[in-house]
Amino acid sequence: MPHPLIADPRAGAPPAVSVHAARLDYGGAALFDALDFTLPAGRWTCLLGPSGVGKTTLLRLIAGLEAPVGDTRIVAGDGQPLAGRIAWMGQQDLLLPWLSALDNALLGSRLRGDGDPDRERRGVAIELLIRVGLGGRLAARPSALSGGQRQRVALVRTLMEDRPVILMDEPFSGLDSITRWKLQDLAAELLAGRTVLLVTHDPREALRLGDTVHVMAGRPARLDQAWELGGPTPRPLDDPALLAREGELIRRLAAAAEA
């Protein structure tokens, strides 16, 4: 249930994001070339593929962290510029070690120079931190938190950004299984209704969280046909349909690795 102060995504309609003719070179060869890719509006898209194929690079391209080359165009479905509408969650929690959990959650205001967050905004951050189970650790520094706890702070930080497009680069890969599943549930709940692109190497995670799943393969890399999965997310772990799909996905990944 979104917090009243965090914009209800369904009201503001997060846009679709389209990537046209993307090209990026790496080490002299094209990592991908003439790549077309669309993130459906307000849905979760998961991207998998062998290591080094270019998933993270594609993500960074969309985030504006890599300069577009050649004819590459990245546009939002509603025609507005994408800059300032993206929130980023990296592989590491990216918490600043000198700030408390609360201050890390409020990092956006600090970095944008919005002045000290007012009491309301602070209140929202605190509530969200309580919601993810960190109510007693508001003043703790990252070094005093476990990996899972830190990633939860990162999740709250992402939410506080209140942006319609969320880009995530294997955010739960460094965690143990139980923590990972719990965080997947939390993320699915809190980020519901936004346009999300999740890069992951875990097939099960993709199948639990994704409305659409893509496999990226080859050099130059290409994306396969989108695999639409129906039903609400997060899908339960013991869902027989999930288990059946997992086999299929792993087969596709294996084929991609040989491509």
Binding site: G64, G90, Q91, L94, L96, L111, R141
Partner: protein, 254 residues
């Protein structure tokens, strides 16, 4: 407290070694006086040594302050202004390459025989370590944080102030530790070249008068000052930069 006791023990051990060295090698007192004579000189000329020691300490502390301010400013400039890198970097390297005792007479001639030239010497000698350490820290910020800051919409200045500077503070801390140990050398060289007071001057005077025990007593006081400065600074750094990653768990708990 335990750390102080440990330091005293090490010191006592070194003195015993020193005494043993004098006894076994039979070195005459005018080359290496035994610790007993040095301590006698220390006690006998205590207030004399103390007043000169305070002067040298003042030179060291002022030199460190100005060196750190200059160094931090230079590092920030190097990190934010690309043209500065082209011009300032060579100056930085040259400041380190020139042996300070070659510059000392010039500084004394320009700045006079008072404290100014000694402070300038100490500043010069720590300028490079401080700037270099802080600049390296600023340059090598975690890529992930910079990515996050970019996507969040931070300007270059905000990113510098809120991400790169705090991230570089541990690097600056190492630079400061080096500075604490090296600054006394600058002050003393300055005194050798032109001064009428201070521990460096005492050492020179005592040496010329063959009062080698007094010379060593002054040396000892200088050594103790430098060590105290280092540990004092270290404690202050730990307090202000408590998130320093410690790979070897050290006495931070004591």
């Amino acid at each position: 407290m335990k750390a102080v006791l440990r330091a005293l023990l090490v010191f006592a051990g070194l003195c015993l070694l020193w005494q043993a060295l004098v006894v076994t090698t039979g070195l005459p007192a005018y080359i290496l006086p035994p610790p007993t004579r040095v301590f006698a000189a220390l006690v006998g000329r205590a207030d004399f040594l103390l007043s000169h020691a305070l002067l040298t300490l003042a030179e060291i502390v002022l030199g460190m302050l100005s060196g750190v301010v200059l160094g931090v400013a230079s590092a920030l400039t190097l990190a934010s202004v690309p043209t500065a890198r082209r011009w300032l970097l060579p100056v930085l390297v040259v400041s380190q390459a020139i042996p300070v005792f070659a510059l000392a007479p010039l500084l004394v001639l320009w700045l006079g025989y008072g404290m100014a030239s000694k402070v300038a010497m100490a500043t010069l000698i720590i300028y490079f370590p401080v700037t270099s350490a802080f600049y390296d820290g600023l340059r090598h910020s975690e890529r992930g944080w910079l990515d996050l800051a970019r996507v969040m919409g931070a300007t270059g200045g905000r990113e510098l102030l809120h991400v790169r500077v705090p991230a570089a503070l541990p690097g600056l801390a190492s630079g400061l530790r080096v500075a604490a140990v090296v600054a006394p050398i600058g002050a003393v060289i300055g005194e050798w070249v032109g001064a009428s007071a201070g521990l460096g001057y005492i050492m020179l005077q005592a040496n010329a008068r063959m009062q080698i025990d007094v010379m060593f007593a002054a040396l000892l006081v200088l050594g103790v000052m430098a060590v105290a400065l280092y540990y004092g600074l270290d404690a202050a750094l730990r307090r202000f930069i408590p998130w320093l990653p410690q790979s070897l768990p050290v006495s931070s708990k004591e």
